[in-house]
Symmetry: C2
Subunit: 360 residues, 2 copies
């Protein structure tokens, strides 16, 4: 299927050492005025995405973010301001800087609050791209907590029965720890596919399956990968048509706008300038509900049961959310991270231009 064809081809790839890549990305941002602490957070989250095979949210974006600093879209250095706070809640103003930095702070605060009072919930406004949304709920795992994060974006999704983009791809990410088994890690756009998949299809010259995108004019399926962010096409909500539950994907997308955009005060999808994102984070201390070891053993039993499902024709096995990324992570931990040669050259050139060391 089309997703399988979307990875970088071996003959175009350079294998990069993960820690060198992390240092390289951080060095580029530092050279462009980012405080080292912030640059290291952004680099860590980007390279974790590459490690997990979520290439669209990885080091691929390094030069783009430098451009965002150049154009003034991102304020660097940024200030993080805690606008309001209670023992269980907080609202953070991201100071128009890297979304990653505010998101990392917000999830850290949610975890601290959950440790103190059981549940922590923090919203983030005046933010930008937070990268791979799963990163933040996964931060909760080592604390024996369940983590959750949602983030909104400028409109890409058409509502069911409507024409034109009104709601963002508005992803939901959720992670829960297991014992022997891998953690459960769900990270899903509320559209049929995230925008990144369309861009990858375009880069690779692959047609789109019907049900991914529709024209704004009359909702006809778009099968030739379209240019980015044009007004004439939109993504379909998860579920697609009303008869197959498209109102559910649309409803989940609006739920994300309520939590991330409205509870933060930062704005819903249609209010956001291009490249702006608001977000919402939650941590749940499992031990307040039941002994953690019991919970993890129960997770193991459930995950093993799901893995034991007989495979359907055309499928070799049943996966659980987080499995595909964990398998890539295991492989790339041994073999290094394959990056497109042109991407490596682009990052090297940017490092040289900014007077940063070339480390990859």
């Amino acid at each position: 299927m089309v997703q399988d064809k979307m990875r970088v081809r071996a003959e175009d790839a350079v294998i990069v050492d993960a820690s060198a890549l992390r240092e390289q990305v951080a060095a580029v941002f530092v050279a462009r005025g980012t405080p080292e602490e912030h640059a290291r957070i952004v680099a860590e989250i980007l390279v974790t995405a590459d490690f997990r095979g979520v290439d669209s949210h990885g080091a691929l974006n390094t030069v783009r973010y430098v451009t965002d600093i150049d154009t003034g879209n991102y304020t660097v250095p940024q200030t993080l301001e805690v606008v309001s706070e209670t023992p269980s809640t907080a609202v953070i103003d991201n100071g128009n800087g890297f979304g990653f930095v505010g998101a990392h702070r917000a999830m850290s605060m949610a975890i601290e609050k959950a440790r103190e009072v059981g549940i922590g919930m923090v919203t983030l406004r005046r933010g930008h791209h937070i990268g791979m949304a799963a990163y933040y709920p996964m931060m909760a795992l080592e604390h024996d907590m369940i983590g959750m994060c949602v983030t909104n974006s400028t409109p890409h999704m058409r509502p069911v029965g409507g024409l034109g983009a009104r709601v963002g791809t508005n992803p939901i990410a959720f992670a829960a720890p297991a014992g022997r088994e891998r953690a459960f890690v769900l990270d899903m756009a509320t559209t049929t596919v995230a925008n990144g998949k369309i861009r990858v299809a375009q880069r690779l010259g692959l047609p789109l399956p019907e049900g991914w995108a529709a024209t704004t004019e009359d909702g006809t399926p778009v099968t030739e990968p379209p240019e980015k962010s044009a007004d004439w096409w939109t993504l379909e909500p998860l579920g697609g048509s009303l008869v197959l539950g498209g109102h559910k994907g649309y409803g989940l997308g609006v739920m994300v706008d309520i939590l991330a955009g409205l509870l933060s005060g930062g704005g819903f999808s249609r209010e956001l300038p291009t490249g702006h994102n608001q977000a919402w984070f939650m941590a749940i201390d499992i031990a307040r509900f039941r002994p953690v070891e019991e919970f993890k053993a129960h997770m193991d039993a459930m995950i093993a049961d799901l893995h034991s499902t007989p495979a359907a024709p055309g499928s070799d096995r049943v996966l659980v959310a987080g499995d595909p990324e964990a398998e890539v992570l295991e492989r790339r931990s041994r073999e290094g991270i394959p990056l497109q040669r042109s991407l490596v050259e682009e990052i090297r050139a940017k490092a040289q231009e900014l007077g940063a060391p070339v480390l990859i």
Copy 2:
């Protein structure tokens, strides 16, 4: 479309006064040994479903629940035990009785906790059917809170790439208050359709659209409405195939099992005996994040913007989650509730059999 044909036909309907129906349903349960306070809670939630046009979760179920008491499936009178509690969290044991009663208590506690500490989260174990899941998040609205509820069920959904039921229809319900506009109320199974839709199609003799159900043998679409709860067919996850995001519906279903089944300790879908359900409730005090009037005005702006979306061909307008039910509620508040004549007769006969007054 098929959903539109699923309502009771006018010529088969008896118009019933809502308060008479509420009294009648409560009287039947009281006559069968249910404490009056519990019977009134169950009746209120069932009739609210009828009011909102969610007929599958309404008074239709009255006689079925009496049978559950008769067979010992439901323990009546039930005891509710708070197994553990902190200022922000609680776990309630439902005492194997009406799920409605424990769910009502759990959401009430979540609201009280949110008032005290900002967020309240309560799980429910040893429960049964909680009815229309949206009822509980909607309880939060009058307190200027956001409400959320998820509940698991015995397996109906096949995982993407698998055969056979592993996960319940596991609905997610979410409500947030608005100002001038109607509240946002999402209530969605994580399967393409809830099981009730299959049963209604069967009763009305309508074919199923492809994408609702599949055979256990090889995943072929099932288009003749099948008998209830047979092993040879399963529901499809929201999204359907992997290429259209079926892993997302499947992932959301498992997320519900983690919150409702594992965080309560009551068990995930495949562990549950038939008719058992565990649940999870959350209330969020909006005022901890921003002034409530600001939030509601922002909700109004977002909802108005969504309503202003140009309609697609074949659609007359764009709705927001909760609109269809609110419109039925407005009509039925004026006109009364249409119940199938055979259903009214069934409830009357049960009342007479139990020595309860006949009120409808």
